[in-house]
Amino acid sequence: MASGDTVLEVKDLRTHFFTGDGVAKAVDGVSFAVRRSRTLALVGESGCGKSVTALSIMRLVPDPPGRIVSGEVLLEGADLLRLSEREMQAVRGNRIGMVFQEPMTSLNPVFTIGNQVMESILVHRDASKADARRLALEMLRTVRIPTPEERMYSYPHELSGGQQQRVMIAIALACNPSVLIADEPTTALDVTIQSQILALLADLQARFNMAVLFITHDFAVVAQTAHDVAVMYAAKIAETAEVRALFRRALHPYTRLLFRSIPRPGAKRARLDTIKGQVPSPLDFPQACRFHPRCPIAIERCRVEEPLLRELEPGHFAACHRSEEVEELMK
């Protein structure tokens, strides 16, 4: 899957949580690559392991109970999982920036905006305070905060949710990282603010040639922002493809069902298709294909043999025994 301009590559990543109730396999053999100037959307429902994947890349999984059991996380060729904690600190916020869902809880309430943007510059760059201040102001301007000179002295609670998220983006990008990980960055925001933030991220990506790993549960956001998509289900990747190919012709029954369960404009009052049953618990995933108890086209083979990701069309992979027939079977 990797090619020349791959910036971040995850190979067979497994992150497990060792709890009193058993081993929760939150991420269980996930591989993908994010390329320069492109956005890979990691999509899935709650508990599918998409956020733990992001935390594993940053090596921020709480340990104990969590542990990265195996795999590789290659940033520009070097395996982050082999770095010491000290070396890792030079990666976080510097070569990989991260934006979280809740800007209010990610910003420190007792420091000014200016201080918080300057902090990451002072930690990672050999910069004087005056230089850091200039750069921080420049970043606030880049993320289009109105009256940035005044905002430098504001505290997080004085800003709206959308403005706080802009500050988070300014912090994440202050050191010009080669990868930005955005974990549901617009989920807590209103639609009009969401569209502002998505447009800003797209602009900044074009300007800084960043690779972006965009984690979301919302297929509408995926359609509007991603170049490539990986759909996760039960700690594994079910399907991955270029965005248009995926939306045109999904080859995994889970992806197809997800598409159909979303209400679309114009299709008023047609019944929504549903996926029967519940998302399985990571403590107790079904045998073989983890989707088979909820799958409308499952056969005996799905109950006994785990499907591997197969390249069915150039660049389009799906983990399903019946991908060749899925279009015929699920019209």
């Binding site: 429902e45 709650s46 709206s160 959308g162 403005q163 209103d190 639609v191 009009t192 603010i193 969401q194 569209s195 502002q196 998505l198 447009a199 549960h217 919302d218 297929f219 509408a220 956001v221 995926v222 359609a223 509007q224 991603a226 965005v243 248009r244 939306f247 069902l257 997800l258 598409f259 369960s261 979303i262 209400p263 679309r264 404009p265 114009g266 299709a267 008023k268 009052r269 019944r271 929504l272 298709d273 549903t274 996926i275 519940q278 998302v279």
Partner: protein
């Protein structure tokens, strides 16, 4: 509208919250959360209420049911003047109007069994004997798609979607004629959302119940509603049939909301009207039309006078001086 007449009539509803300041907690102003809202809902019909956070849609739903005391206005549900009822009769009348909350985690008492939760309303209203209530709970559980053994279990044993089913069963137990659904699916996963939406629609088809469906997901609201009302800073700015409001929005705010709403299709990169700024504070709404500081088509008059809410097209109401003329080039 419906031939059976109106089930819910809301007129001139206002809910102000005092803002207190200083040592003596003097009232320094009011948050006009709901500022003169009027609408009707026919029997078996659904009115969708949309708007961004802080626009007053939740307060509106709660004030209608008198879960908060109104500042002004009249509400009639099933012929009963809700705000005129003395507390004893209000209690009795509550049987006919129920609410389903957004968060299925905090809205169910963790110390009560599912049977206790669902039967509580029946007990309060002295409906049926103990055996009858038990039978009723069993049939409700079946109706909302939960296993019969759920009755003796506690809320924490269930997933978000299942809890929302419990919340729906609780609301339905007393056989109401009207339910306020306050963001009933926004906390749920995509695949579970469709299940709950279908359930609400099936129940309406069977019982001809009326819904006020509060949500911020525009595609979902279009799907479930007969009529849609758009709120901005405490007031309804546009109201029309679901079809009309999506096909021919007349208010610039509705247009911006629809444009910001991401489309589930990577091939359609919609022309975006990116709305600048944030929703202003409801303590100090802007002079004239509340939307004028963010409006792309406003003029001098909009800064001085709040526009009347007029029927611009048959059944299509809007509070905007331009009434869609300024962007009629699209039609």
């Amino acid at each position: 509208m419906s031939a059976d007449g109106e089930m819910v009539v809301v007129s001139g509803l206002k809910k102000y919250f005092p803002v207190r300041k200083g040592v003596f907690a003097r009232v320094s102003g009011y948050v006009k959360a709901v500022d003169g809202v009027s609408f009707t809902i026919g029997r078996g019909m659904t009115l969708g209420l949309v708007g961004e956070s802080g626009c007053g849609k939740t307060t509106c739903g709660r004030t209608i049911l008198r879960l908060m005391e109104p500042t002004a206005g009249r509400v009639t549900i099933n012929g009963e003047e809700v705000f005129a009822l003395p507390s004893k009769r209000l209690r009795a009348a509550r049987r006919f109007f129920q609410i389903i909350f957004q968060d299925p985690y905090s809205s169910l008492n963790p110390r009560m069994t599912v049977e206790g939760i669902i039967a509580e309303g029946l007990k309060v209203h002295r409906m049926g004997t103990r055996a009858e209530r038990r039978r009723k709970v069993a049939s409700l559980l079946e109706r909302v798609g939960l296993p019969a053994d759920a009755a003796g279990r506690y809320p924490h044993e269930f997933s978000g979607g299942q809890r929302q089913r419990i919340g729906i069963a609780r609301a339905l137990a007393v056989e109401p004629v009207f339910i306020v659904c306050d963001e009933p699916v926004s906390a749920l996963d995509v695949s579970i959302r469709a299940q709950i939406v279908n359930l609400l629609e099936d129940i309406q088809a069977e019982t001809r119940i009326s819904y006020l469906f509060i949500a911020h997901d525009l595609n979902l609201v279009e799907h479930i509603s007969d009529e849609v009302a758009v709120m901005y800073l405490g007031r309804i700015v546009e109201k029309a049939s679901a079809e009309q409001i999506y096909k021919n929005p007349l208010h610039p705010y509705t247009r911006a909301l629809l444009a910001a709403n991401p489309v589930v299709d990577p091939e359609t990169k919609v022309e975006k009207i990116i709305l600048g700024g944030d929703v202003p504070s409801p303590v100090n709404p802007p002079e004239g039309c509340h939307f004028n500081p963010r409006c792309p088509v406003g003029d001098e008059r909009c800064k001085r006078v709040y526009p009347d809410f007029v029927e611009a097209l048959p059944g299509h109401w809007v509070a905007c001086w331009a009434r869609g003329e300024a962007f009629s080039t699209k039609v």
